[in-house]
């Protein structure tokens, strides 16, 4: 076991090698065979997965594991940045989540991308992403996190814009990167400020700069040095990174557009791993955030609003991937909310369960889209359960899981809700429960529209291949049971509860609020299911009475708000169009006509004066030299005169 811990660097190193091999292999045309790219990708991830499993087992047996290794990377003056790897329980958990989901999605991608002419490029990007994500997970310090934070961002940029000949994909890729850059800006300034206010401590203790293990001490020192206001700003800057990466409001708009990428990418990057990295970073920076209660409150509210608003948008989406994307946003909101109220382990628990079931849901939608020749609109689907039962049932498992109907999502969501309850955050609890209701509603709506009823589309159907359905079945297992497995109910056979595993001394732990809350949330979920069924399931539509129709008419303004995504995009566009670009235009014109105009004016006047000396041809350089030298001598004379006098 020690072997795996000591050689943990293999996990990110193998994908990097895979990337380089594919890159150079293809650049010099050493091979054509698609299976070589596939084997390099899947092989590297598989070995990583085996390593991760052993590391996880080791960590379960040795809960106090905290293995660190640092290499000095950049050294200038008192700036000493290191990169390295850190293995603790949290990292072990993330490693397993990332490698297992990556592995299945890579296998699935083979089926999905087989006909695409960019097959090798796709796998090269995929394995590059894998490298960056795993190195991000293993980061020992905030600086290293920043490096790989940007690298996962750029992998995401490359993969969203994979079909770059589509204008919408190109636009979406750029948007994702720029919005993430806003987050990176905050993260960068926050990091610098944190470092600045605790610099003496770092230099005097000879610790690795910004190492997570000692961030708590440095944070409290920074708080003492900076004062609460500046420290709050600093923490908000740091929070901005996760807000952008985990698609929290108001920087969430890129996630829905990111669905322009191939569906396996949406499953891997924009549902399971990269977007969860924001929550992971919050977990890593927890010792800093919890020093400021205001920032924690802001975090909780950002999470709550993000849980709520995207859920309301998801209700009216007809594009199956967009619906899932807003659902991802909303679930990420839950995680951030949990983090914000101090329910550290509940948030991470939800991160883990969500990664599995949401990856599976996306892969199901990918199978549907692939089978229907790129049809994404649920209005042209329906009745697909009979045609592709595997996909339909796995989708149903995912739907049940995310809705909190006793599968894995129930346990993790329950942990969040009970933390809200025990801490007496009434308003936040209400928002979370309303969101839970909407979640069930829109997920069952999408299930019914896609798999039940009559087929409404025209596209020719062809069956998804085994290589695509097998990963779905495999993913269905953790989606169904992982919540129960780590809920603490199986203590008797030696499986500890999740919160014990990622236990963090700083986190607040509340007792569960009895049976009231679980039952309450189950009822709410059932209500959501019922509403969706009444409207969209042919077996229940007999209940669909006229009152619902009236309601739909009465809520037109709300409907408009939802279908227009609360006008976030329009607002951003207005901001760019009427603020940023005019400023740029102004500066550009200023540059061209004022600054350069003045220069030309000086030049012209010289030319006029020089007319007598006929300065207009190329030969005027020499003349200029003479005049310039003369005037220069004059300057010197004046200088010396001044000095003497």
């Amino acid at each position: 076991m020690e072997f795996f811990i000591n050689n943990v660097w293999v996990i990110p190193a193998l994908p990097l090698w895979g990337f380089l091999l594919i890159l150079f292999g293809r650049a010099f045309n050493f091979y054509q065979n698609k299976y070589i790219s596939l084997a390099l990708t899947v092989g590297s991830t598989f070995i990583g997965f085996i390593f991760s499993i052993f590391i996880l087992l080791y960590c379960i047996n040795n809960p106090e594991t905290n293995t660190r290794y640092n290499i000095l990377w950049l050294d200038a003056g008192n700036l000493k940045f290191s990169v390295g790897w850190l293995v603790d329980n949290l990292a072990a958990m993330m490693l397993v989540v990332v490698t297992s989901i990556s592995l299945l999605i890579q296998i699935y991608s083979h089926g999905y991308m087989e006909q695409d002419k960019g097959y090798h490029r796709f796998f090269a990007y995929l394995v590059l992403f894998n490298f960056s994500m795993l190195a991000l997970v293993l980061s020992t310090n905030l600086f290293q996190t920043y490096i790989f934070w940007e690298l996962v961002g750029v992998s995401s940029y490359l993969l969203i814009g994979f079909w770059f000949d589509r204008p919408s994909a190109a636009q979406a890729a750029k948007k994702a990167f720029i919005i993430n850059r806003i987050g990176d800006f905050g993260l960068l300034v926050g990091t610098l400020a944190l470092l600045f206010y605790s610099l003496n401590w770092w230099t005097s203790t000879q610790n690795v700069l910004l190492e997570f293990a000692t961030l708590g001490q440095a944070g409290s020192l920074a708080l003492a040095n900076a004062g609460p206001v500046l420290f709050g700003l600093l923490a908000i800057g740091l929070l901005l990174g996760p807000i952008a990466k985990s698609a929290q409001i108001p920087l969430h708009t890129w996630l829905a557009d990111a669905m322009e990428g191939p569906t396996p990418i949406s499953a891997l990057i924009h549902a399971a791993t990269m977007v969860a990295a924001g929550v992971y970073l919050i977990a890593r920076l927890y010792p800093v955030f919890e020093l400021s209660t205001q920032v924690m409150t802001i975090m909780a509210w950002v999470g709550a609003i993000t849980a709520f608003i995207p859920a309301t948008i998801a209700i009216t989406q007809t594009d199956i991937k967009k619906c899932l994307a807003y659902s991802t946003c909303s679930q990420l909101g839950y995680m951030v909310l949990a983090m914000g109220i101090g329910a550290y382990s509940a948030g991470l628990f939800h991160l883990m369960t969500h990664a599995y079931f949401k990856a599976m849901l996306f892969l199901c939608s990918g199978a549907v889209i692939h089978s229907l020749a790129d049809q994404q609109d649920m209005r042209y689907m329906g009745g697909l359960r009979k045609k592709m039962p595997t996909v339909a049932y796995t989708y149903l498992i995912g739907t049940l899981a995310i809705s909190g109907l006793l599968l894995s999502g129930f346990w993790s969501k329950e942990a969040i809700l009970s933390s809200l309850y025990t801490q007496g955050k009434g308003l936040l609890l209400v928002i979370a429960l309303i969101t839970a209701f909407m979640t069930t509603y829109y997920m069952f709506r999408s299930y019914f529209m896609t798999f039940e009823g009559e087929y409404r589309g025209k596209a020719h159907f062809h069956k998804p291949s085994k290589v695509m359905t097998v990963p779905l079945i495999v993913l269905a297992i953790p989606s169904a049971i992982i919540g129960f497995l780590f809920s603490g109910s199986l203590k008797s056979i030696g499986i500890e509860s999740f919160d014990r595993f990622v236990f963090n001394v700083h986190a607040i732990h509340g007792d569960h609020g009895g049976l009231f809350l679980p039952i309450c949330s189950l009822i709410i979920a059932l209500l959501g299911f019922l509403l969706a069924g009444v409207i969209y399931w042919d077996k229940l539509t007999s209940l669909y009475c006229s009152c619902f129709k009236n309601i739909q008419k009465q809520i037109t303004p709300l409907y408009k708000l939802s279908i227009n995504k609360w006008y976030f995009d329009d607002f951003n566009n207005l901001l760019i169009k009427y603020l940023i670009l005019p400023i740029s235009e102004f500066l550009s014109i200023f540059d061209k006509y004022v600054i350069d105009g003045l220069v030309n004016l000086c030049g012209l006047s010289t030319l006029y004066k020089g007319k007598a000396l006929s300065l207009l041809q190329n030969g005027n350089v020499q003349t200029y030299l003479v005049t310039a030298l003369l005037s220069f001598v004059a300057i010197i004379m004046v200088m010396i005169l001044i000095y003497i006098v």
Partner: protein, 511 residues
């Protein structure tokens, strides 16, 4: 190392230029180009040897040379002017950068230059001598001579082989630089003057004036000297508002000349600021650091905003150059090891990246005969190699980690943020750095917008038959990409060369 002679390194290009220009040399494009290119390759390898045998931990110049032309005395003995050369931590890396980029510019000249080959290649080599002389001279007057010498080939390179309003641009470039250099000359002479009246000996030696200046120059005059140098380098760097020559010169210069202009000539501004304004006048830089920082932040933000709305591809790259050179100022103004090392690193990083970007612009222009964004689009479908190289360069330019631009930005941001050079000033270092950091968003916006406009999206019908990179272009871009990735992964490969120098430099004004 007897065989490593700076004289050979500096004057060999001049001699080869003479050979090429001589009537005996065949007037055949291929022969001239291959000859020049081969020579540049040798020169590059020769300069690499200097770097290998360079001892970073020794303070002061190494490989010292002092050419004595007619007798044992210095070149112009009565005035104390000598033909002396040497390299230290900051010049060695610029020497290698120069020979490297000259080699690549010559490789990239194949299709870009269609007339007067003999003159073109010899002018490029004269330019090489001028630049190498500038970074290695140990004598202020010599430095000035090379500084002026560089103008002449540059003027002709733009005005003969350029496009558009080339005469106007060349003249503007010439006048601007010349205007700046006058102030520098005044500064140089004033330094000499004060040395004479204090010690009775006339000297222009940089070492003497830097390390053994034990007298005080009246504050007023020292400030004037500082500003004399500063204006010359501000024009070169360029610093807003003295930058308007640069967009013109870049747009109208031929591709290889743009590469050299952005890759090396702008760095002379940064080099001068470190060598003279910082090293020679440490008292002054401490006083004027706030000005450097403010101007740096203005440069960064202003040029980035202007780049955002450019309609011409080359103009966008030109303004991005201005914006990136602002980082050099910001780093310098920090006056600490991290900041100044970052400024140095940024010069190297920007030299490589901007040369690459200008090359790509040239590649596109050669095929489409346009640089207007509205005319371009979807080229990635027909030019995938060009697309990937541009993507790499753009990502490096916007400071993607593990590419060369990132290490520079990190050092500069860190240096500027933790510095206290703005003490007593209204805005603290932290606020100014925060403002500068906004540029990471804007830079990403305009570079990715550029990628999207040129390479992604729908393609115009007329570009259907555009060809991808030729082997020449691919090789030049590959050569550029290697250090961009290599030193991005391993920044110490560069920093170790100049860190001892910077340490020493900083120790002088923290005393």
């Amino acid at each position: 190392m007897e065989f490593l002679s700076l004289n050979i390194l500096i004057f060999a290009p001049l001699i080869v230029a003479g050979i090429i220009l001589s009537p005996l040399f065949p007037n055949d494009e291929i022969i001239v180009r291959r000859f020049a290119k081969g020579f540049a390759g040798l020169l590059f390898i020769y300069s690499i040897l200097f770097m290998i045998f360079f001892k970073p931990h020794e303070v002061g110049y190494q490989f010292k040379e002092n050419i004595k032309l007619f007798s044992d005395a210095n070149w112009i003995e009565p005035l104390g002017i000598s033909l002396s050369f040497g390299v230290d931590g900051i010049s060695i890396i610029l020497v290698v950068l120069t020979t490297f980029l000259v080699m690549l510019a010559l490789i990239a000249s194949k299709k870009a230059i269609t007339t007067k080959h003999k003159l073109y290649y010899s002018l490029i080599l004269v330019l090489t001598t001028a630049i190498l002389g500038m970074v290695t001279s140990r004598d202020l007057f010599l430095f000035f001579l090379f500084w002026e010498l560089e103008l002449i080939p540059m003027y002709f390179l733009i005005s003969i082989w350029g496009t558009g309003k080339k005469e106007y641009s060349a003249m503007k470039f010439f006048l601007y630089t010349f205007f700046g250099s006058l102030f520098m000359l005044a500064g140089i002479l004033a330094l000499n003057y004060f040395h004479v009246i204090n010690t009775g000996v006339s000297t222009f030696s940089i070492e003497t004036l830097t390390y053994s200046r034990h007298y005080d120059i009246p504050f007023m005059f020292e400030a004037l000297i500082f500003f004399g140098f500063f204006i010359a380098f501000a024009v070169k760097l360029p610093i807003v508002p003295l930058h308007t020559w640069l967009p013109n010169a870049h747009v109208d210069a031929p591709t290889p000349v743009s590469m050299l202009l952005a890759g090396i000539l702008l760095k002379m501004g940064g080099y001068g600021l470190i060598r003279f304004n910082t090293q020679m006048l440490p008292e002054m830089i401490k006083i004027f650091a706030p000005i450097l920082i403010v101007l740096g932040v203005i440069n960064i933000i202003y040029a980035a905003f202007v780049a955002l709305v450019q309609k011409d591809l080359k103009l966008l790259v030109a303004y991005s150059s201005i914006s990136h050179m602002g980082f050099v100022l910001l780093g310098l103004g920090a006056l600490n090891v991290a900041g100044i090392s970052g400024a140095m690193f940024q010069m190297i990083a920007h030299g490589l990246i901007s040369a690459g970007l200008f090359l790509v612009v040239g590649v596109i222009y050669l095929r489409t005969k346009t640089r207007t964004f509205s005319q371009l689009g979807g080229l990635g479908q027909v030019m995938p190699k060009a697309f990937y190289f541009t993507m790499l360069l753009a990502l490096a330019s916007l400071g993607l980690p593990l590419l060369i631009g990132f290490a520079a930005e990190v050092m500069i941001f860190y240096g500027a943020f933790t510095s206290d050079s703005l003490e007593g000033f209204v805005l603290s270092n932290q606020v100014m750095t925060g403002l500068a950091a906004i540029s990471i968003i804007i830079t990403a916006a305009y570079l990715l917008w550029m990628l999207q406009k040129v390479f992604m999206g729908n393609m115009f019908e007329k570009w259907q038959k555009t060809s991808d990179l030729t082997p020449h272009e691919a090789i030049a871009l590959t050569f550029l990409s290697i250090p961009i990735v290599l030193f991005g992964l391993y920044p110490e490969g560069i920093t170790s060369l100049f860190l001892p120098f910077v340490d020493n430099l900083v120790s002088h004004f923290t005393l």
